[in-house]
Symmetry: C3
Subunit: 262 residues, 3 copies
């Protein structure tokens, strides 16, 4: 069995685009273990793709190659790149999509442009670099082709502007950054943001209108009730037990969330 190559995109599952990328990769190395992370990233939503990718990469074995394509700039000057982190390689457009995942893996050890025409699909189209550039590069890298063979080194990668958490004495103010399929509201407030609190927080404020108790698990409240928990992303999550907090509160990504400590 070959190396694991993960795939994330905004290509959806209807038009065959993902299958085509896999066909290209397997024509290069039929033993690859291909794993979909998500192809339902909303079209061109680089930040959503970046957050989902970041949430997933820590759980894959060392040596995994992560291929990600959310690429509104396909065909323009944005560079196709490969990033080496301590435990993984990441392949995609240099538009911020990879940066949070790279940071979660300890930062970039090297960044190279993907330019070597001998490793790419020919001719390279102007509309489907997932097929013509990213999938073949990922497959060759998974087989062991060195980064230097893919293209010249670059000095860094494009960072992604994500909503920041503002921490003051005793309060952390952040935002909902993702609504998952259950309607859970995932925020950007992690445990580190609460490190200076003298007392552990007991509740969360959402859009300055709702106070939601912070508990260990969904089951600590009755079905249908609001509850805040520590999410699988390691951040504060607002949920409704057996329901949808997004529907219940009528809020989504961007909504202000605050945690007050003692």
């Amino acid at each position: 069995m070959g190396r694991v190559v993960t795939l994330l995109s905004d290509f959806g599952s209807r038009d065959g685009f993902v299958g085509i990328m896999k066909g290209v990769a397997l024509a290069i190395d039929p033993a690859l273990q291909l794993v979909d992370i998500s192809h339902e990233i909303p079209p061109q939503a680089v930040a959503v793709g970046a957050l989902v990718l970041r949430s997933a990469v820590p759980y894959f074995a060392d040596g995994t190659v992560h291929l990600a394509v959310v690429d509104p700039g396909v065909g323009t000057a944005r560079a196709p790149i490969v990033v080496r982190a301590d435990r993984a390689l990441l392949v995609g457009p240099d538009n911020g999509l990879l940066a949070p995942a790279v940071a979660a893996l300890g930062g970039a050890r090297a960044v190279h442009a993907i330019e070597n025409p001998a490793l790419l699909g020919q001719p390279v189209s102007a509309t489907f670099h997932g097929r013509d550039i990213f999938a073949p590069a990922a497959a060759h890298l998974a087989r062991g082709v060195p980064l230097a063979s893919v293209g010249p080194p670059r000095s860094g990668l494009v960072e992604l502007a994500l909503p920041a958490v503002v921490v003051t004495s005793g309060a952390a103010q952040g935002a909902v950054v993702h609504v998952d399929r259950f309607g859970n509201l995932l925020t950007n407030i992690d445990r580190a943001a609460l490190r200076g609190f003298r007392h552990p927080p007991h509740s969360v404020r959402v859009i300055e209108m709702f106070t939601v108790p912070l508990h260990a698990t969904y089951g600590d409240v009755a079905p249908g009730e609001l509850v805040a928990v520590w999410s699988s992303w390691g951040t504060v999550e607002i949920a409704v037990r057996d329901g949808s907090a997004a529907a219940h509160l009528g809020v989504g990504a961007g909504a202000a969330v605050a945690v007050a400590g003692g």
Copy 2:
């Protein structure tokens, strides 16, 4: 190639949760053959998940490990379990999700709690046991770890209350239990329910309003017409040829269906 591990959940395909479970499993055994059964079970719909799982397990080879997570009680006292059936292992929460599939495979030979912290992701979160408990347990079991190493035996598993078929002399009264993506209405009336009939039935009654002819195949009626057939689940199905019976009749799961024999 390693063993087949199937996955079923209500996690959807957008947020990366399934990819994360696969990453965890492949980090334990990179040679696993991972097969998705469904991740579009409606959120927290244990009965739907149980029926879809039951419909699929008979078609997998001996030795398959079935991992299923539809788990409204994540983080509460419901036990994570592994069940040994004659031909497969089943891993999931003990909330009824596994029981119909276990029965379809001939019943439980052994049930063990999943408790061994050495085999689980650490720390175990309160919100994502698919990642922290079920996926690692399934991967270790697929590699050959014995059930006794996973945790202590339990005396049984939680059964699922499913709608029953009432059979009287010459009639079987059941219900629609699932609407598939084509709008076909799958009922719980199997051939065994009709065993006592003196004459084979010729039609099916739906919500005491519609009489639908029972035929061998969709093609026995004209496009757009109602037809009852024996479904791929082995039960009576109400369909519209080249159309949706659910839309045509305006009925769904729970609708009463009756078959009268001679």
Copy 3:
């Protein structure tokens, strides 16, 4: 690692039908490399399935087996077939679904009916030939079973009537044949249709109402603007940069598109 078997269907991802086909195939050969092309073909939409399949098959390695099931006639007289092309085998119902892909692979070298009961699931149902006929046939063929063992030769396969492109001196008149998940309008006008033009075209007319400039890439217009490009299918595509042309223009499959040359 065994051969690649691709899967395309209108089965969706919710009901477990695709997982069941994979279970059947892996019970025959657990080393198969299974790749989904699409299971979100609209129900019974043979032409959509045929176009998506055709777009994908050229990118898979020689020796791939393509399994496709969009089969409104399941259970009727239409034949289950396997087609040998120069580089691949194709398995599915003989209803036009396979024909465009076969043509893209250079044409049929042989066509055989799938009839050998020893290779099929038993009993063969009247409602799920994907499980009982096509998946087992594809798996056996991927393992190397010769076509002649599957069933007797047939003289040809059912062709699919697709919208034609009318080329006159200096103009090519075609149609939108697919709307992808981004809302891009994929037409049937390929480069060959423009071969007789004395000057390269600079624009495309959509439903005789909109004139859209033809550029090398989406990035050649401002965000939100209409642009025509050469699609990943090798045909003229009408798009909105960072948006949906289908929503912007209110048109879909069937809309007339014309390219005028010099």
